[in-house]
Subunit: 95 residues, 2 copies
Amino acid sequence: MFSDLDPLLHSQLRLGIMSLLISVESAEFTFLKEKTNSTAGNLSVQLDKLSAAGYISIEKSFKGKKPLTTCTVTKQGIKAFEEYVNALKQYIKQP
Amino acid sequence: MFSDLDPLLHSQLRLGIMSLLISVESAEFTFLKEKTNSTAGNLSVQLDKLSAAGYISIEKSFKGKKPLTTCTVTKQGIKAFEEYVNALKQYIKQP
DNA sequence: ATATTTTGGTTTATAATATAAACTACTTTA
DNA sequence: TAAAGTAGTTTATATTATAAACCAAAATAT
């Protein structure tokens, strides 16, 4: 009847992150923080989880003298997102 | 950017329950259990939460000599579901 | 008749999760 | 050079989901 929803994507913040990354292809920590309206701590944790799952890649560098964290969605992440959306559609198909 | 997702509906099992109830208008505990592939304990807890939120109403009676729990979605539940779906669409809109 | 299993659940304990608070390290500004 | 700001990370806490354990009655087997 219903397919399982990938628990890694079935989280408001992680889904928001993925949604953004899919449309922009690369985003800075501060950009994601602002767009998702999240705290830095929460964002940091959720980015790590997405990264650990291989859904995004995280690159740490410097912009001038300040640390810069740049995130990119991976192929695997795009695939997982698409599958999540398809699974979700079974749930939200309205009569 | 992203609207909040109603945490009561942003749960695989509760979303499945609501999805079913919206399409059938009334369903028995055992029907929901089978369709959602959930354990009785988990289903019982989640039905209570939806009921406490006013999203569904639960009627307890007997079918012959056996207990019968019948669930119906409320107007408020339908509204919440629709709002959830609309909010969700912001997240899953693909490029 | 009575022991065993099944049905239809509820309650409770546990494991996982999300989230914010507290912290670090460095930089800019006063 | 002290205070405030930036860009994060780590850790503690509160919430949540979930299953395990339980209960009462009914059906079935012995």
